[in-house]
Amino acid sequence: MSEYAIAADGLTKVFKTRGGLVTAVSELTLHVQPGETFGLIGPDGAGKTTATRVILGLLRRSGGHSSILGYDSMRDTYAIRERVGYIAQQFALPADLTVMENMQFFAHVQGVSPRQQKQRIPDLLAFAGLGEFTERLAGRLSGGMKKKLALACSLVHEPQVVLLDEPTLGVDPVSRREFWHLLGKLRAEKGLTILVCTPYMDEAERCNRVGLMVNGRFIAYDTPKAIKRQVNGRLLEFTPSDTPNTLALLQNPSRLGVDGILEVQTYGAMLHLFVDDPALRVPQLTAALSAQGITLDGLREIEPRMEEAFISLIRRQEEERVDGKRLSVVGTA
């Protein structure tokens, strides 16, 4: 039996569509320790939801293996249902039930006895900051409060593991932070194992470990710190006086006569430039660009964030694919 809270080994899901077979999840391997917060991070269509639903046993797998708390996703669905909480993406609570009625409804579905309900529901509502709103209709809650109510409902049967599919989608920054505070509490106080799917790169920083998912596969699987270290070089940020020309020059650095330029990314009016050695390259770059009549404003070294790392890793993977002559580059600027 697996000692992992959540495990997937070579997990694959293929859908049959009119256009042929589509591999939504491709040989995915992940192991989440008890008490860990794990992030499944990636854009829409990466396969996050499908992977989650297969692991939960809501979809049949096409290959590989997966389990939660040692229970096989396909065979032990009942055991999983009893021990696992789940918030589906764009999950809607019954709008015409009050906060309290929603809690009672989900408790009932999960087979929580009325006596246990009397104990747990007030605690959960207090935890979610909804103690004063028990009589309010769920449809009349703010977006942030709905998400908190959904979280409280998913915890009513005291699960050991929760899977949250984009729980903060479309939520404002203050509510998003409050939601993550609740997840932090669950991790610190209850040792709950949490798997979160999210398209928000900054939420990766909240997780112990993350898998960056693209086209059904992980392009990185590690702690946020370690993933950011996988990026080549160090990151400079600046605003050039002439962005299009600077960009063209930096994309073709031999024309500039400066070595050690690894990658350039646009960042609003600014550019993000990865170089091998800032101390050496900054004076060279400034001189070479100034010879072209370009000045650099606000030049400084910054720490790459998960977003820069993600973009960099995707591009590297796509370049490797192109080198391998398997696929052409799609989607990079």
Binding site: V171, P173, V174, A188, E205, R206, T223, Y267, G268
Partner: protein, 315 residues
């Protein structure tokens, strides 16, 4: 002299007893990318509606390209573009048909429409997909197509209401490249967002909460001036237990932090600023030592715009 395309003076909007927009003033220069950051219900969309001439202000005045939207909406609208958060595209039309539909709605002539069609298809990277049903396009394409339709009539001012929700980071950067291309041609862009990383991409950002404009500056300056306290990153042997200990200490007044939160294996605490992170090491290490934990490192880290926003809103 600065050339302002949007000027807003003491603008307010009242819905019954509810004040959706409360005495807001700001100006946006021609060719500027101006971001408006705030939670849902803060008044962002209400303000845009007033600027578009769809809602009448209760008091105050707005000017867009010199026009008063409340009385001169018709003249103004031909020179203004709007992309709503819902990407108002027709899913059962092809990409080309959507462009044509919007072009005709804006009264474009045949030749103009042909030229704009080619430009928008190129801009959105939709070459070869002109005849794809919009429903089958991925998020990034749809979004760029929606932008193309919103600017089919080559407006001078464009309002983008939450344009990139749910789009992958590469598509989002591409979308922002388009925004800056437009700005480079002198188009003024006002973007609302509740995405922090998106606000960082704007030249100036306004923080809006409960109808009020709380701060307005470049992202860098906002970080320097609006953050009360600084962010400490604490590395310890048991972050989960350490969070509990520090939060208890916060509650009983032994640790004067505004906010304490888990970030993966680290703890972030917003504490009153001082130059020396090491000065915090001793009291924190002492608190954690009582519970049998060791502090490996403590250092200042740069606040994110979200840290700054939350600090501003709480004040």
């Amino acid at each position: 002299m600065d050339d302002y395309t949007i000027e807003v003076n003491h603008l307010s909007k009242q819905f019954g007893a509810f004040t959706a927009v409360d005495d807001i003033s700001f100006r946006v220069r021609r060719g500027e990318v101006y971001g408006w950051l705030g939670p849902n219900g803060a008044g962002k969309t209400t303000t845009i509606r007033m600027l578009l001439g769809l809602l009448r202000p209760t008091s105050g005045e707005a000017r867009v390209l010199g026009f008063n939207p409340a009385s001169e909406a018709k003249k103004m609208q031909a020179r203004v573009g709007y992309m709503s958060q819902l990407f108002t595209l027709y899913n059962d039309l092809t990409a080309a048909e959507n462009i044509r539909f919007y072009g005709l709605a804006y009264g474009l002539k045949r030749r103009q429409l042909r030229r704009r069609h080619a430009e928008i298809i190129a801009m959105a990277g939709l070459q070869g997909r002109e005849r794809a049903l919009t429903a089958t396009l991925s998020g990034g394409w749809k979004q760029r197509l929606a932008l193309g339709c919103a600017i089919v009539h080559e407006p001078e001012v464009v309002f983008l209401d939450e344009p990139t929700a749910g789009v992958d980071p590469i598509s989002r950067r591409q979308f922002w490249d388009l925004i800056y291309e437009m700005a480079g041609r002198g188009v003024t862009v006002l973007v609302t967002t509740h995405y922090m990383d998106e606000a960082e991409l704007c030249q100036r950002v306004g923080f809006i909460s409960r109808g009020r404009l709380l701060a307005l500056d470049t992202p860098q300056r906002l970080k320097e001036t609006q953050m009360s306290g600084r962010v400490l990153e604490i590395n310890t042997t048991h972050p989960d237990r350490a969070l509990r200990v520090l939060q208890e200490a916060q509650e009983n007044g032994r640790f004067p932090a505004d906010e304490i939160a888990l970030y993966g294996a680290q703890i972030h605490a917003v504490v009153p600023g001082s130059d020396d992170a090491a000065a915090w090491k001793e009291p924190i290490a002492a608190l954690l030592a009582e519970a049998g934990m060791v502090v490996n490192s403590i250092e200042w880290i740069a606040p994110t715009l979200e840290d700054v926003f939350i600090s501003t809103v709480k004040r």
